[in-house]
């Protein structure tokens, strides 16, 4: 594994985007940053800026308004990038499935690499999902 690929695995910077979730998963993502889980051990940092991000953590089902935003953000993340859909809603649409304004899961708009199911997702599961995403990133 080359230096750059090794660094990729060691330094995943995250963009967290909330489509139209109930905020349950968002709170769990923030919980990952707390001393208890401390994802910064793995070099993970929540960037809040697509131009600096490597991993998109997406929560909530895609609706007609956020689909456009999600696509724009995805295009602004420089390659190599991976997308993790966090939570059942982000993966499939969940309880909002077939709602009048909901398109469904994130994969309706952008390609998703890792699905993390759960309602809401536990922080361990999120970290596990990101680690899976990193394995994929290492191969890119």
């Amino acid at each position: 594994m080359g230096l750059i690929q090794r660094s990729r695995v060691k330094s995943p910077w995250i963009l967290h985007f909330d489509n139209s979730s109930c905020n349950g998963c968002d709170i769990e993502i923030l919980a990952c940053l707390t001393p208890l889980y401390d994802v910064e051990r793995f070099g993970m940092v929540n960037m809040g800026n697509p131009k600096h991000a490597d991993i998109l953590l997406i929560t909530g089902p895609v609706n007609r308004r956020t689909a456009r935003v999600l696509k724009n953000l995805y295009e602004q993340v420089p390659d190599p990038k991976v997308v993790v859909s966090v939570g059942t809603c982000a993966s499939t649409g969940g309880v909002f499935h077939n709602c009048y304004n909901v398109l469904g899961g994130v994969d309706k708009v952008i390609p998703v690499d890792v699905y993390v199911p759960g309602c809401s997702v536990r922080p361990e599961a999120i970290i596990d999902g990101v680690v899976m995403a990193l394995q994929k990133l290492a191969k890119l």
Binding site: I4, R6, K10, P35, D38, E40, G43, K51, H52, P80
Partner: protein
């Protein structure tokens, strides 16, 4: 002699980013520990750097890349000036050019966030530049020369007479290290600026260049602080490292303040410290 000096400069140019990167790693580790976290490995900044190098090039304007190169090169040039023990006043002006490059890099995109950050960065320059210039004048007042080599020839450390300016320079260090309460234009990991301030539109390899410039910058700043005690130099370096740790502590116990507050504080407390210092030297030593 020339070759020896050249090799020394080369050594510093290669060594500075390594030590600077490590200092940032230590920064993150200690910050994490202060917050009750485990923290990333010490060499985390290098992982970040190489990862960024391997990312795709994306651009919002050509000029922003030109300015980030300018930022890096002028930062390195300032460091070379310090290592060559050249003119301190000119060093401050070169450092100013580096700051201006960063500001213009933010301005050269039509991004509201970068624009915000650039305006704030400009206010930061307004806050720290006069203190550094006053330091240059105070060094002249004390030593009769603007050359850094002259500081090394003195037996008595500058800290004894320039301690008010030393306090003001600590304040500058907080601004330049982008630590709370002055992480106003952009900031480091874990914090959230308005998106990412002046660096919002940099990405991939060019963002890596920004980090590289910051590593040089931290070495430069700590070098300037160690000038306060040059005989023997290791005391100065220890003082600089202590100042560095102090900044981490300040970062973790304070909240971010506003731009106006920063400029007002700098132009009142910082300048008064500097002016009192210069006035004191003027009245004790005179000019002729």
């Amino acid at each position: 002699m020339m070759i020896k000096q050249f090799l020394f400069v080369l050594l510093i140019l290669v060594g500075a980013p390594i030590v600077g990167g490590l200092l940032f790693g230590i920064d993150r580790k200690i910050t994490a520990r202060m917050q009750g976290r485990y923290g990333p490995p010490f060499i985390q900044p290098f992982y970040d750097f190489f990862k960024l190098l391997g990312k795709e090039h994306i651009a919002v304007s050509r000029m922003q890349f030109v300015w980030i190169y300018g930022y890096l090169v002028f930062m390195i040039a300032s460091l070379v000036f310090l290592v060559m023990k050249s003119d301190f006043l000119l060093l401050v002006f070169l450092l100013g050019f580096a700051g201006v490059c960063l500001v213009l890099g933010g301005f050269s995109t039509k991004s509201p966030y970068a624009h915000f950050g650039a305006n704030r960065e400009l206010m930061q320059i307004l806050a720290y530049e006069p203190v550094l210039l006053l330091l240059a004048i105070a060094i002249y007042a004390q030593n009769g020369s603007f050359l850094i080599s002259e500081i090394f020839r003195q037996d008595k450390p500058l800290l004894f007479t320039l301690w008010p300016l030393f306090l003001a320079v600590l304040y500058v260090l907080t601004i330049k290290m982008r630590k709370s309460p002055f992480d106003i234009s952009t900031c480091h990991h874990g914090h959230q600026e308005i998106v990412k301030g002046v660096t919002t539109e940099y990405s991939g390899p060019y963002f890596a260049l920004y980090h590289l410039a910051e590593w040089y910058e931290i070495i430069l700043l700590l070098g300037i602080i160690s000038l306060f005690w040059t005989n023997p130099l290791w005391v100065g370096i220890l003082i600089a490292l202590a100042a560095f740790l102090l900044e981490l502590f300040i970062d973790n116990i304070t909240a971010r303040m506003t731009v106006g507050w920063m400029v007002r504080l700098s132009w009142s407390v910082g300048l008064i410290l500097g002016i009192i210092n210069i006035a004191y030297i003027y009245y004790t030593k005179g000019v002729s």
